[in-house]
């Protein structure tokens, strides 16, 4: 049987990679991908705890469902934003979009 902490460590690793992607990648879409990775890590945690701690209660699953919905919404709006940004700047490089610079 698989110990719980395997899942958790895997989730931590995914989270760290996603974090790196978010912080380091130039392309905005890539940043979004990093966010997705982090969300997935979170979901793994939720379901793992659900499975190992309270499989007879739908709490963890409910949270996971909410996370799915949030992820979908975030991606929809984010990608729409990137398209608008691309129209404006002709690029989606996150470090070229600095209108709010001093």
């Amino acid at each position: 049987m698989i110990p719980l902490d395997w899942y958790l460590i895997l989730a931590a690793a995914l989270f760290a990679l996603g974090l790196f992607g978010v912080l380091a990648r130039k392309n905005a879409v890539a940043i979004l991908m990093g966010v997705e990775l982090m969300l997935n890590a979170v979901n793994i945690n939720l379901l793992a705890f659900w499975r190992y701690r309270a499989p007879d209660q739908p709490v963890g699953m409910a949270f996971a469902v909410i996370v799915f919905a949030v992820a979908a919404a975030e991606v929809a709006v984010g990608l729409a934003l990137f398209i608008a940004v691309y129209r404006r700047f002709n690029s989606v490089a996150a470090d070229e979009i600095n209108l709010l610079k001093w």
């Binding site: 974090l19 380091a24 600095n98 709010l100 001093w102």
Partner: protein, 737 residues
């Protein structure tokens, strides 16, 4: 409608007319005068109804229980200041003539202001109309009178005036009476200065206002004193025996007068101003600058009567004030002032050539009569003469207005505007031109001069003379007798110069009768001028005495009879001697005869040809210049006042002292401000402000590199801090204990 409601409504109608005209209908002349006359008619109707109801009640009952209605108006410390309306026999009598005269004037004004004539060619507001040119069917040009430019405004003013008069007549306390009094003061100012483009009219308006102000201030003092002394202003409360006793017994420490005496004197000074008694008479003749109906009749029939009405109303108080026999007791003062004014004004009137000025001075002297009668202690006679005089003086003035109107027709016809249509020497022989005016004027004149038996003036004047004679005031008696003679004389002089003989000018040739709106009031008033006296024929009068009951004496006497009797001040005159009767007959007929004799054959329009002038010489000049009273006042009051205002107050006090002080302060403050500004504000305060600003800016410059505008840099910072805090928290949680 209940009588009290009707009573409250009397002043409301004209007031309403005033408001409506001023606010809404002043563009529409016909509508405006309809409103005003309609309001006057309503008030007249109401007054008549009230009068009849009062008659039904009967004098004693009415005196005991007047028609009275009041409301709590002003909350004072304890209780309320009540204001209300009241009708007792005196009020009823006054209301009667006030209603009639006011209604008549409103009617008369329509015609006087040429309603129905075209707009003037070059009329402008503030000037009397100069006439208009109309082209008839045959293409002939005619000069015709033009309508008054400020027609509606005029009716608004007299509407307000009527409201004031009614209010004064029906008010049951001194306060509302004073309010009405002041309203009329304002209206007289407005109406005297109605043609405000004429400098003389302006000056006259201001003069009237100022002069009456003098009286009013004293009157207000009296009212205030009365209120402080009694705590009330309503007549029923004041005229209680205990109140009067208290007032009479309280010393005022002024000229040895009792409180009642001082109050009486103060109130009387108000009358002096309002009723133009010497020494405040100067405004009334100038008031003739206004349009004839108003200036004339208001300042003759109603408004000036208000002053007399007030003192009559306050008679018990005055009586109480005169009880301690101080030298300046109100009645004594009134007796002196009244008598002197009567004679003095009569003498001036003798030498005047302006038809209206003559009447003005006669008014002053007649008012003097009434005041003197009061001084002699017979308020009934005063009231009687007040009423009759109101009628015939209104008649005379309207008649003179009609004459002037006719003359203006002539002036328009000849186009010679040099001719003064008011100078009697320019007239003559108008009897044939304007018969109605002539006859009514004749009746009025005879009434004024006391033509025996027929006319009302005779009875009232006889009443006054006899009362003063039997009342034991011989000085007043003889003074008044002489004044009566002069009155008759100048009245006849006026009639002769105006109507009899031949026309002395082409204008007089072409004068003609005035429209019905003017003649009808004349006739109505003439009727009263004849008949108003017959209600007061004394019992002891030979032949006629007792044929008719002395109804008026009975009626008005009832007003204060009970009160005076209770106070024990009611003196029963032992009437038997016929001296006063003969005297009055003599002076009246004699005066009339002499007047006709002297002036029957004046031919030239030149005032210098006045036969009396030849007879009297310098005295005549003195009289013609009214004893130089205006100049005297100018010297004593006006010039000093101007000097005070111009030189002392303005140049010295204001410019020199006050401005000097202010400039000095300003200089000091300015220098101080400079010092503070350059010594403190700039270097220290704003220096510190700039320093802070600079520091902030420097730091901002230093740290702004943080704000790269790149999302990821921010995220890096955020995550760094998250990791740091996480480590910290973990450290605290795990290793702290």
């Amino acid at each position: 409608m209940p009588t009290t409601t009707l009573l409250w409504l009397l002043p409301v109608f004209p007031l309403l007319a005033f408001v409506l005209i001023v606010l809404f209908t002043n563009r529409n002349k016909a509508l405006s005068h309809t409103l005003a006359v309609g309001a006057a008619f309503l008030s007249w109707l109401g007054a008549m109804v009230i009068f009849v109801r009062a008659l039904k009640i009967g004098p004693e009952a009415l005196a005991e229980h007047p028609i009275h209605s009041w409301v709590n108006w002003l909350p004072t410390g304890d209780g309320y200041l009540k204001i209300g309306v009241m009708v007792d026999p005196l009020t009823a009598a006054v209301l009667f003539f006030v209603a009639w005269t006011i209604f008549m004037i409103f009617l008369y004004s329509v015609g006087y202001h040429n309603f129905g004539y075209p707009e003037g060619d070059h009329d402008q507001k503030g000037l009397p109309p100069h006439g208009a040119t109309v082209v008839d069917a045959h293409g002939h040009k005619h000069r015709v009178p033009s309508i008054e430019p400020m027609y509606s405004r005029f009716f608004a003013y007299i509407g307000l005036f009527a409201a004031g008069m009614y209010l004064l007549a029906i008010s049951d306390n001194l306060l509302t009476l004073f309010v009405g009094w002041e309203i009329m003061g304002l209206c007289s100012y407005l109406l005297i200065g109605f043609w405000f483009a004429k400098p003389s009219a302006r000056a006259a308006g201001i003069k009237a206002f100022m002069t009456t102000r003098v009286g009013d201030v004293f009157m207000l003092l009296g009212i205030a004193y009365l209120y402080t002394a009694t705590g009330t202003l309503s007549f029923p409360d004041i005229f209680k025996p205990e109140t009067l006793h208290a007032l009479a017994s309280t010393p005022s420490h002024v000229l040895g007068l009792s409180a009642a005496g001082l109050i009486g004197v103060l109130l009387f000074i108000g009358t002096v101003g309002k009723s133009a008694q010497w020494p405040l008479h100067v405004w009334l003749p100038d008031a003739m600058e206004g349009p004839t109906p108003v200036s004339a009749m208001i300042h003759a029939a109603t408004m000036v009567s208000a002053g007399v009405y007030m003192v009559i109303r306050m008679f018990p108080l005055l009586k109480a004030g005169s009880m301690n026999g101080a030298f300046f007791s109100p009645l004594a003062v009134m007796g002196f002032i009244g008598g002197f004014t009567a004679l003095f004004a009569a003498t001036i009137a003798v030498a005047q050539n302006d038809i209206k000025r003559v009447l003005a001075y006669s008014t002053i002297s007649q008012l003097g009569y009434m005041v003197a009668a009061l001084g002699a202690g017979s308020y009934i006679a005063a009231t009687f003469h007040l009423i009759t005089h109101a009628f015939f003086k209104a008649l005379l003035f309207l008649g003179s207005g009609s004459v002037i109107h006719g003359m203006e027709h002539g002036v328009l016809h000849t186009g010679n505007h040099e001719v003064d249509p008011q100078d009697m020497f320019n007239m003559g022989g108008l009897a044939k031109k304007m018969p109605i005016t002539f006859w009514t004027f004749l009746i009025g004149g005879f009434a004024l001069s006391g033509f025996p038996v027929l006319t009302a003036g005779f009875w009232s004047k006889d009443e006054i003379l006899s009362s003063s004679f039997f009342g034991g005031h011989p000085v007043i008696f003889w003074t008044l007798a002489l004044a009566a003679f002069l009155t008759a004389f100048y009245t006849m002089r006026q009639i002769t110069l105006t109507f009899l003989g031949q026309p002395r000018t082409p204008e007089a040739e072409h004068a003609h009768e005035t429209p019905w709106t003017m003649t009808v009031p004349l006739m109505v008033l003439a009727f009263f001028a004849l008949t108003a006296g017959w209600v007061g024929i004394p019992e002891h009068f030979p032949l006629l005495g007792g044929l008719l009951p002395n109804w008026f004496h009975h009626w008005v006497g009832a007003t204060y009879e009970g009160l005076l009797e209770e106070m024990g001040w009611l003196e029963h005159l032992a009437e038997g001697s016929l001296v006063p009767l003969y005297t009055s007959l003599t002076v009246a007929l004699g005066g009339l005869f002499f007047g006709w004799l002297v002036y029957k054959d004046v031919r030239s329009p030149d005032p210098a040809q006045d036969p009396l002038k030849k007879a009297l010489g310098p005295v005549h000049t003195l009289l013609q210049n009214k004893y130089y009273f205006d100049e005297l006042y100018g010297l004593i009051f006006i010039r000093p006042a101007y000097w005070l205002a111009e030189v002392f107050t303005f140049r010295w006090v204001d410019r020199g002292v006050i401005d000097g002080i202010l400039h000095a302060i300003a200089r000091v403050v300015f220098d101080l401000g400079k010092i503070l500004a350059y010594g403190f504000d700039l270097p220290i305060i704003s220096g510190a402000g700039d320093l802070i600003g600079n520091i902030v800016r420097t730091f901002g410059r230093a740290f702004r590199v943080v704000q790269t505008g790149r999302v990821q840099d921010y995220m890096v910072a955020a995550m760094t801090s998250v990791v740091a805090f996480g480590a910290l928290v973990y450290y605290l949680l795990v290793f702290a204990h």
